[in-house]
């Protein structure tokens, strides 16, 4: 299990990286944390001819709030989210989610942006991005594009990024203090990829749900919000039957994938339960 040979570049500047990316768009891969790419290379399931390692580009290593966004640089590791990094509801949500992301040594290396670019349907950060309407800043020599998370995830392991683009930054909207979040995930073991997970963010006005976002990951080929379920929540109070109805709507809306760990039917069951538990977590 040794990787196939490749040429290695470790640019120190963004310009240099983008030039390399333009030159090797077809056979090159970006290497950030490498915690998904390198295992695939060791199995020779991935065999890029050129590896462009962006770990030495200091300009991509940042994390902080600005203009209502949490700005996450391409080199921000999962580990950074174990402690609160943003004000408001994200202060508790992100550490809660980070706890589910693989294991410590993986969190030390793996990056938030890399996780989005890899687009594993069961990756936690992709669900966060999709549910909270993140923006993805894609850079290439041709310029900068800001991509909404909605539509970014095309299908499993496929995104709207062009081959010559890299994710320079991901922006998560800072939620106001009146938003409340809940996250629930089911996996076989601690740290495994989700068989199903759900993220709920709701805003209450006078004890009634004034805004709702409910996303599901690990169930279909990509994480997504379930608008039909969100609609059922609007204007309602947080009664158990309301949450259950929303959870049922989630289950009904999904077309789950199957693998050895979960049939479609089982994933649908799990999605229903995770959706309800995420809502309960948000509204507890």
């Amino acid at each position: 299990m040794k990787p196939a040979a490749f040429a290695y570049h470790a640019p120190r500047s963004l310009d240099e990286a983008l030039a390399l990316l333009a030159e090797h768009a077809d056979e090159g891969r970006l290497l950030a944390g490498g915690q998904s790419l390198v295992p695939a290379m060791n199995f020779r399931l991935a065999r890029p001819a050129v590896l462009i390692d962006i770990n030495r580009i200091a300009a991509l290593d940042f994390l902080g709030e600005a203009d209502g966004w949490l700005r996450i640089g391409a080199l921000t590791r999962h580990l950074a989210f174990e402690r609160p990094v943003a004000a408001g509801p994200l202060a508790t949500l992100l550490p809660q989610v980070a706890w589910h992301v693989a294991h410590l040594p993986i969190r030390v290396r793996g990056t938030f942006a890399g996780s989005l670019a890899h687009a594993d349907p069961a990756a936690e950060w992709s669900l966060v991005a999709a549910t909270l309407a993140a923006e993805i800043v894609a850079l290439s020599r041709a310029g900068e594009r800001t991509l909404p998370a909605d539509g970014f995830f095309r299908t499993a392991f496929t995104t709207a990024l062009r081959p010559d683009e890299l994710i320079a930054e991901v922006r998560l909207p800072l939620l106001g203090e009146d938003w409340r979040c809940g996250f629930a995930e089911f996996s076989r073991r601690k740290g495994d990829f989700a068989l199903a997970m759900a993220l709920a963010a709701v805003r209450l006005e006078d004890e009634r749900i004034a805004a709702a976002r409910l996303g599901v990951g690990g169930v279909e080929h990509r994480p997504r919000r379930i608008e039909a379920a969100e609609a059922l929540l609007l204007g309602e109070s947080a009664r158990p039957e309301v949450l259950a109805a929303a959870a049922d709507a989630v289950a009904a809306a999904l077309e789950p994938v199957e693998d050895i760990h979960a049939s479609a039917e089982y994933r649908r069951d799990l999605a229903r339960v995770m959706a309800r538990r995420a809502l309960e977590g948000a509204l507890a």
């Binding site: 020779r44 073991r189 601690k190 495994d192 050895i260 760990h261 039917e265 089982y266 069951d269 799990l270």
Partner: protein, 776 residues
């Protein structure tokens, strides 16, 4: 003061703790790397093998055509119901499972060997394959071996006289079928071998991650047609084995063949994908059992239809009979049942071969018996503990319906202690309260006896051509008074270098640290069988005790001579030989120096070499235990959380209780893995779907609960040390305890839990089906 019974830290640890362990891969510097080209399909005819003709310097590829002189691996059982089958070192005409080696690449480095292996094209015409046990038994199933019609490799039967009458007299017949999905022992170090040719002598040293180095030496010499004295097998530090490293594998034949042919050194370090795909699997079994119970709950008769999927080949030397025949002989377990009828079949499929895995069949037959007990208790309206109480063997020695002789044990006491420790009435109250609140707790018990420390009679009874069993120990004191014991057993994590030293230290009045245990090197150690089957402490330990006692007698004579005392009055303690009732004594180091360097002082009969040896070949002993699990099942997800896990066990005298507990812990963790997590999955075409640790799921410390261990000590005279084996018990008892607990938790749903691993998906499916049935 005795060293026996003391939890001293292990003598083998400092090297392992500081990175100075020597595992095979650590010794392979400078060797050429070997990579195997493996079959991508489960069954097919090899039409051709296309080797690139512009291989770089130092690279070569060999195929079956090169190995014409190598005998296929074809282990034998002398039984009419056994069909011997052959396994080629490299597949020649056909392949029988995914991962079967077809060619071998030798290259200067591992990455390059893998590069070349990708270029070797094996043209195979695929044929219909069969991976599932019952499908392989069905009429018209593809035949894995032409010589084994119906895919039956072994078909053992047993029946006691009067069986039918006993069944007819029963008040209750309870029948269940249990299923165990396939497991991998998955030692953290995969298989590995380094074969090095020595030009000066023409010998090959095979450094290999194995449990049976001496057997491997004989087997390789036999199969390659070489002189056994031209081969040295070394088992260095071995990173776990659990049965997976007992067998003669084709890869090792190829390695030694290559070292001889290339007159150099070659190494093969198995990767994890190969290990999960092509080493060995186990416990792929389905058993239908039927218990005939009297009205008072006594088990009158037991019937079993025991089926084991043994894969495409027969593991050498234990053969594919090891699972079915063990199941056949040991199904009744710790229960006093006089009537027994069973059939045990080993079934060939197009899957990786079966080899022993910790407990072999006992985790599954124990599941069958213990689920049967719980189901029968339900039927009879009895408490499960009470039903067991009424059926456990109480009088020893006890001769079982299958002829096994149980030595003294504490079957009932372990059960009572476990039931008292979990405080059953208090638990039932808590369970009821939890159910009312929509939470589902359950308790499960598992009682079993574990046949351990058995010598040649047990293996010979199985009809094995190669019948293991005895162990020999050679012990010597050097002129400085330090000791070396050379053993045929081959420990790999069991701490034998410590426990054997404790045993010897007590015989000779020295400290364990003065005793070096030499093992795992066929040039240095007496012929022996290695470490497996919960045997080494019992058998090598008994031999150590005998050899040390013999050496002690010699030392007593020498001390008596020097101190002018009767040797019978000499005793040994604190590194000295003392004359009882006097202040006369001599330091052992001085005595040893005198024996070697002043040998003329001891007369003509004196042999200056201070050594003794002994061989021990016991019939065997049964340790016993009760496991208890308390679980909570989330019916919405099927998730099982183990809240508490208790082991009350009796392995006789514990030489080192800390090491004994460690064996129990590790076994229980593997048992929980079996019950809840691990499963090798094949699709219908025989493709393996669990070829990485992303899909094969050993539990982490987050899934394994604290394990409470209590020991009872029955001093049986079945062994010289009064110690019984306990290496496998944890893995044997835990699965049934966990499944019984799950079944107890899910009782309100009216579902039966008979399959393991009881994954969340499976449990959820059971619950979903049950709930759907309730809808009007």
């Amino acid at each position: 003061m005795s060293w026996i019974g003391r939890p001293i830290p292990r003598l083998e640890d400092p090297a392992l703790l500081t990175g100075q362990g020597r595992f095979v891969a650590d010794t392979a510097q400078g060797a050429a790397a070997v990579r195997f080209v493996r079959s991508p399909v489960a069954r097919g005819r090899i039409l051709g093998i296309d080797v690139p003709n512009d291989l770089p310097a130092g690279v070569r590829v060999i195929t079956a055509a090169d190995l014409a002189d190598v005998r296929p691996i074809r282990p034998l059982l002398h039984r009419p119901d056994y069909v011997a089958i052959g396994q080629p070192a490299l597949a020649a005409t056909c392949v029988r499972h995914v991962g079967e080696p077809v060619a071998a690449v030798v290259a200067p480095g591992a990455a390059q060997a893998e590069d070349v292996a990708e270029l070797v094209f094996v043209e195979i015409e695929p044929e219909e394959a069969v991976a599932d046990l019952d499908l392989a038994l069905a009429a018209g199933a593809p035949q894995v071996h032409a010589e084994a019609p119906g895919n039956l490799l072994i078909d053992g039967r047993l029946a006691t006289e009067g069986f039918d009458a006993a069944v007819a007299a029963a008040a209750h017949l309870v029948e269940i079928e249990v299923c165990s999905r396939r497991q991998s022992a998955m030692p953290l170090e995969a298989r590995a071998a380094h074969a090095s040719f020595e030009r000066a002598t023409g010998r090959v040293t095979l450094t290999c991650s194995v449990q049976m180095p001496h057997m491997l030496r004989t087997a390789i010499a036999d199969h390659l047609g070489m002189r056994e004295s031209d081969l040295r097998v070394v088992a260095p530090d071995v990173g776990g084995a659990f049965g997976q490293k007992m067998s003669l594998f084709p890869e090792y034949l190829v390695l030694v063949w290559l070292a001889r042919r290339l007159r150099g050194a070659v190494a093969w370090i198995e990767d994890r994908r190969e290990n999960l795909t092509a080493s060995a699997h186990g416990r792929d079994q389905r058993h239908r059992v039927r218990g005939a119970f009297a009205a008072d709950g006594r088990l009158l008769a037991l019937e079993g239809d025991l089926r084991c999927n043994v894969g495409a080949y027969s593991s050498y030397p234990v053969t594919c009979g090891v699972e079915p025949l063990m199941a056949l002989a040991e199904l009744p377990g710790p229960y006093d049942v006089r009537h027994y009828r069973a059939r045990a079949r080993g079934v060939a499929t197009n899957t990786c071969m079966m080899a022993p895995y910790r407990g072999v069949s006992r985790p599954v037959i124990t599941l069958a018996m213990e689920r049967l007990m719980d189901c029968a208790a339900d039927r009879l309206g009895l408490d499960p503990v009470e039903l067991r109480r009424r059926n456990l063997v109480r009088a020893f020695p006890y001769r079982s319906a299958t002829g096994l002789l149980f030595d003294e044990g504490s079957y009932l006491d372990c059960l009572e202690r476990a039931a008292a420790t979990v405080d059953l009435p208090a638990f039932r109250a808590r369970q009821a309260a939890a159910r009312a609140a929509g939470r589902f707790l359950g308790v499960g018990f598992c009682v079993f006896s574990e046949r351990t420390g058995y010598g040649t009679p047990a293996f010979a009874a199985r009809g094995m051509e190669i019948a293991p069993g005895y162990e020999r120990v050679e012990i010597a004191m050097d002129p400085s008074g330090n000791l070396e014991a050379r053993i045929g057993a081959s420990p790999h994590g069991q701490g034998l270098a410590t426990t054997l030293a404790q045993l010897i230290a007590d015989e000779l009045g020295v400290e364990p640290a003065q005793i070096r245990i030499a093992h795992g090197d066929t040039d240095r150690t007496p012929y022996g069988w290695g470490t497996f089957a919960s045997r080494s402490l019992v058998i090598a330990g008994g031999a150590c005790k005998l050899a040390a006692a013999a050496l002690r007698d010699r030392l007593a004579r020498l001390a008596g001579h020097l101190l002018e005392a009767d040797p019978g009055d000499v005793e040994f303690a604190d590194g000295r030989a003392r004359v009882r009732g006097t202040d006369l004594s001599i330091e052992l180091a001085t005595l040893a120096r005198q024996a070697y360097h002043q040998s003329h002082r001891f007369g003509d009969a004196h042999d200056p070499y201070l050594a003794a040896h002994a061989t021990y070949d016991p019939a065997g002993t049964f340790s016993n235990a009760t496991h208890a699990a308390i679980v909570e099942v989330d019916p919405e997800t099927g998730h099982v959380a183990i809240e508490r896990f208790l082991v009350v066990e009796d392995a006789g005298v514990l030489i080192n209780p800390m090491i004994a507990d460690g064996q129990v812990h590790g076994g229980v963790a593997q048992g929980i893995a079996h019950a809840l997590f691990e499963e090798i999955v094949y699709d219908d075409e025989g493709n393996i779907l669990t070829a990485s640790l992303a899909d094969y799921l050993p539990p982490t410390c987050a899934e394994i609960p604290p394990i409470e261990v209590q020991h009872l000590v029955t001093e049986s005279d079945a062994t010289l040390t009064r110690a019984k084996g306990l290496g496998e018990g944890g893995a044997i008892g835990a699965p049934a305890a966990v499944l019984n607990a799950i079944a107890d938790a899910l009782k309100p749903f009216g579902v039966g839990v008979f399959e393991m691993p009881a994954t969340p998906q499976r449990l959820r499916a059971l619950i979903r089906t049950a709930q759907a049935g309730e809808v009007p």
